[in-house]
Amino acid sequence: MKKNIIIVLLLCALLLCGCGKNEPAQSGYTVTDMTDRVISLDAPATRIVALSASDCEILFALGAGDTLVGRGEYCDYPEAVESVPSVQSGYETNLEQIIGLEPQVVIMTKMGQTVEQVEALSNAGIAVVVSDAQDIDGVYRSIALIGSLVGKSAQADALCKSMKSSFENIDSKGDGTETIYFEVSPLEYGLWTAGSGTFMDELASLMGLKNAFSDVVGWAEISQEQVIARNPDYIVTIAMYYGEGATPVDEIMARAGWQDMTAIKNGKVFNADSNEISRPSPRLVNAFESLYEFVYGA
């Protein structure tokens, strides 16, 4: 279980590192991925294995879902992706399974790969493309990268444009004085929040809110006392509700010692969809819209 913490810490470290800043080449069938690796293909890819959920979502959003011949085990959106054969991803990435699916390209994140794995895949004649968005800008680049990979750059452009306009086209915007607290894991398992460098932080600042834990980097375990002392105006939890016991919102409202907080008094507690709000996928727009609705009303 401690391992999980290490993984999260590693993730935070990676978040800090940032990623390649080069614009991917749009011409022909040579693409530069997000670690500046140049990949040449004879034609647009038609057989793809995507290991991260967000890349699967992007493929489907571009109308290229049919190119998927394999997906990471945690890919679950849209529903159609469930019929694609699932392969083990992450630290236990199953190379034999992937090679057996005979893809032309494997799309993975920086974290989900080791040098040995990339080498083994290259030796099997499979191109490895890294899509590793750490912010909304990165998501645009991921979309462009995947678009050019499957020969759908126009659709990719359109998708990015529509996302941009959704983010910018808002009626009201805060002045950065109101604070919002994102809760990644509930009290029962130790409080974890999303600090700076996360999508939640970025979405909040897009609508003029200040992340109450902007001094924290990435996802981190924080002190309950600090949450109470910082007294945020809004509380957003991304806990899942499993249909029994108190809902995540009710549980937060009922916490001992939290009753005097502004957000609790005003009933400003919201349960966001954890996948929408934490994945670098086009659905960040949905997360943004529901968050906006929660803060400013419909």
């Binding site: 398992y189 409080l191 006392e225 899942m240 005097d260």
Partner: protein
């Protein structure tokens, strides 16, 4: 000093007072200090203190006392200085029980956490029985190496069972185990009360068996020869230890190091006599875990460290220090 007359073997009243005062001071310190600083005049009215910090400090103190007591009892019972909930696989067993309860949705109506707790206690006890009977089959003298080896193997088995269950079960379990099995950060007064009652009952059972534990610590055969009902006493102590570890795990997750090292340190200072060792271990365990938790809470504020990281860090250093000092004084 106090037992020079040979009549009194336990701690003197003065020692008890000193230990109690030290524990209370530590507790006060841990309540006053925290990630958020509260002005002294608001200490008694602050919601942070009353609703967040105090219940947590209480739970931490009670867990520390419980784990140390269990460690001391098992180290004596098995005549094995390496015995502890974590080294024997009892904690992993308890975790397995808790996870099983969550997977099978075993719950007792109106007592939401009781299902997990009962399963944790049950599995802690089952693990102990399995580990000990395996060890007996292999080596009836219950040698240190055998028992630790089996404990480690059982720990691994329990962990892989948990992973296996996570693999096949709902997202919910994946969620629960992702953030370590429980933590003391969300402690409530209810948790503290449960711990207090359990500790009071089990400590009464264990402390009243100080003579028996002394006999076991000298040797099981010797215990039998002087008239200890070996089978019965061992079972009673094992049950008390399992209940205590099971409840601790279900409230605060597995905290390593406390149960192993605190009794060891106390033994180096006060000697192995359980009439002193058990009570002193409880006090020291409570203080140690409270201080470790304090460090975990404040050192990287507003972030929090898992308390296990701190217990291992401080514990290892303090242990080496005491160990060297006691070796040197023995040679001097």
């Amino acid at each position: 000093m106090e037992h020079k007359g040979g009549k009194k073997e336990g701690l003197s009243v003065l020692t008890y007072i000193a230990l109690s005062v030290f524990t209370l001071v530590t507790m006060l310190l841990c309540v006053c200090l925290g990630s958020v600083s509260v002005p002294p005049d608001e200490l008694l009215s602050s919601s942070i203190i009353l609703n967040v910090r105090l219940p947590r400090v209480l739970c931490v103190a009670l867990s520390g006392a419980s784990l140390s007591l269990c460690g001391a009892a098992m180290q004596g019972l098995l005549k094995n200085p390496l015995a502890d909930g974590s080294t024997l696989g009892v904690s992993s067993g308890a975790s397995l029980g808790a996870v099983l309860a969550i997977t099978l949705s075993i719950s007792i109506p109106s007592l939401p956490f009781a299902g997990t707790m009962v399963m944790a206690v049950l599995f802690a006890f089952l693990s102990l029985i399995i580990i000990l009977s395996l060890a007996y089959k292999l080596d009836c003298s219950l040698a240190t190496n055998t028992i630790i080896l089996i404990g480690i193997i059982f720990s691994m088995f329990a962990s892989s069972m948990i992973s296996l269950m996570m693999y096949f079960s709902s997202d919910r379990l994946r969620d629960i185990t992702r953030w370590t099995m429980g933590t003391l950060s969300g402690s409530s007064y209810t948790n503290a009360l449960v711990l207090l009652v359990t500790l009071a009952l089990c400590a009464a059972v264990i402390l009243s068996r100080a003579s028996e534990l002394n006999a076991f610590a000298i040797g099981e055969d010797n215990a039998r020869h002087i008239g200890v009902n070996v089978r019965r006493e061992r079972l009673i102590i094992l049950i008390a230890v399992s209940v205590l570890i099971g409840v601790c795990v279900s409230v605060g997750g597995t905290i390593a190091f406390v149960g192993l090292v605190i009794p060891h340190m106390v033994r180096l200072i006060l000697g192995p006599n359980h009439k002193k060792l058990l009570a002193a271990s409880m006090y020291c365990g409570a203080c140690f875990l409270m201080l470790a938790d304090l460090v975990a809470r404040v050192i990287v504020s507003p972030l929090e460290l898992p308390v296990g990281v701190v217990t291992s860090l401080i514990g290892a250093v303090v242990f080496v220090f005491i160990f060297f000092r006691s070796v040197r004084s023995r040679h001097a």
